[in-house]
């Protein structure tokens, strides 16, 4: 028997309106330790698929398997252990960070939410160093740092529970070249150390080809059925 995939999406259809789903019949696998790049034009529904894979959005139909086990519940209803297997980083750091939390608390929040308070000082210091945040930045709130610095904190937050699968949804689309390279390097360091899998969603072939072991195009994922942008595009992704 071949190695069991870490993540497997089978014929997933999902969206915000049942009559016009953003994702139709999408299938995709990520093997343990593998880095998969999902390429697609903006507005095609790939962010919705990323949310399904992160257990944040319940699909209308289809199956999601994590470690071979089918996922039956989503969001709060999903078992906590299953939810925290997947770490997720979104495109816009401003919207992904609670504006009231200092960066330290932002990074530590998942530890506190899962009752691992005692790990906070060590893990935060370790991850801040890994993503290149200096101690003086950790004491600031989101509106006092730049987009790049905030995205570093969001990546640290995604890694703080040591997920076995990391989903990066257009993580670097808003960032400059150097910050992009730094964030990708931080993700790769983490994957080398832990053997975690990666699903990187984006539209930049050059970046994803360089970053990932394997890239798949949206049209191939949704195999034949057109999920790609019909002209009056549904603003589904965000």
């Amino acid at each position: 028997m071949p190695e069991q995939p870490l993540l497997e999406l089978r014929a997933v259809t999902a969206g915000y309106d049942r009559r016009a789903p953003a994702v139709r019949n999408a299938s995709l696998t990520v093997a343990p330790g593998e880095a998969v790049g999902l390429l697609g034009p903006s507005g095609c529904g790939k962010s919705t698929l990323a949310r399904v894979a992160a257990l944040l959005h319940r699909p209308d139909s289809g199956t999601l398997l994590l470690d071979g086990a089918p996922v039956r519940r989503w969001r709060h209803r999903a078992p906590r252990a299953q939810r925290t297997t997947v770490g997720v980083v979104f495109q816009q750091p401003r919207l992904s960070a609670d504006p009231r939390l200092r960066l330290t608390d932002l990074i530590a929040e998942p530890l506190r939410a899962t009752g691992r308070r005692e790990d906070v000082p060590d893990r935060v210091a370790e991850l801040a160093a890994a993503v290149g945040l200096t101690p003086d930045l950790l004491g600031r709130r989101p509106h006092e740092v730049s987009d790049g610095q905030l995205q570093r904190a969001c990546l640290a937050r995604a890694l703080v529970l040591r997920p076995r699968l990391l989903i990066c949804d257009e993580m670097t689309a808003m960032l400059d070249a150097s910050t992009t390279a730094a964030l990708v390097a931080a993700v790769e360091d983490y994957r080398t150390a832990t053997g975690a899998g990666l699903l990187a969603v984006g539209h930049d072939h050059t970046l994803l080809k360089r970053w990932c072991d394997r890239t798949v195009h949206w049209d191939d994922v949704t195999s034949g059925t057109s999920g790609t942008s019909l002209e009056p595009s549904v603003p589904s992704a965000m």
Partner: protein, 299 residues
Amino acid sequence: MTCDAPAAEAGTGSTPWRSYGTKRRSTRTVRVRVSAALVAVTVLAVLLVPPLAQLDQQAVDLAAELQPPSWAHPFGTDDLGRDLLLRCVYGLRVSLLVGLVAALVATVIGTAVGAAAGALGGWADRCVMRVVDTLSSVPHLLLGIFIVALFRPGVVPVAVSVAATHWLSTARIVRAEVLSLRSRPYIDAAVSGGASRWRVAVRHLLPAVLPQAALAAVLMVPHAMWHESALSFLGLGLPAHMASLGNLVQSARSSLLAGQWWPTLFPGLFIIVPTLAIAGLAGAWRERINPRRRSELML
């Protein structure tokens, strides 16, 4: 590019720095300062005058009834010869107390209901909001009169009746805010980080709506004062002997027809001026809590 030493760096004084938009800011500052001063005077008067003044606001002096403003009685006297300045301060004290209690209770109910409806969504949300819609369709004052009529006149029934009719708008505001926040990626990130429904509500949603709810509460204080005055004016609110602003205006009605303006004017001013001052402060606060303004530095 020139090779000249950069002129701009040294900063202090040496370069002609030009400023922007100072004028608009100053008028706003004046408004805030005036409002703050008025609120401060109101609060001080209400807190300090009753314990410090040796005079009895209920002291009846029939020999001095309905005297126009003078040095002895700056606001004049009422139809029983009582000093109107003192009566107004006592009246404001009662009205402010009713307003504060009612606003506080209404905000707590409204925030709890609105946050629960918004956070739970689905059927719970729909049911709660239909109840809110139904209650909102009944005129406030009518509902208030109904509630007051069930009890003996006093401060508590009036506060309850105002609170019970005014949590609806807060519930709406809070629910709308929660609904817009619920779809933010940072809530997704919290869920993905293992946060429970309760933790998301208490740690991420509630703190985000509190400034809005608090603002609604502050704006509700003058509104509740108006309601108290209206109920008292109709003779349904506080007992007639109690110096509330509504009672003062009510009892001055007859003398107004006889050309005595002061027993109506001064209590009326005591209703209007604190209302405007509180609204002015709340408006400035609303601008400050808008996070978009705070991050105007464009970095």
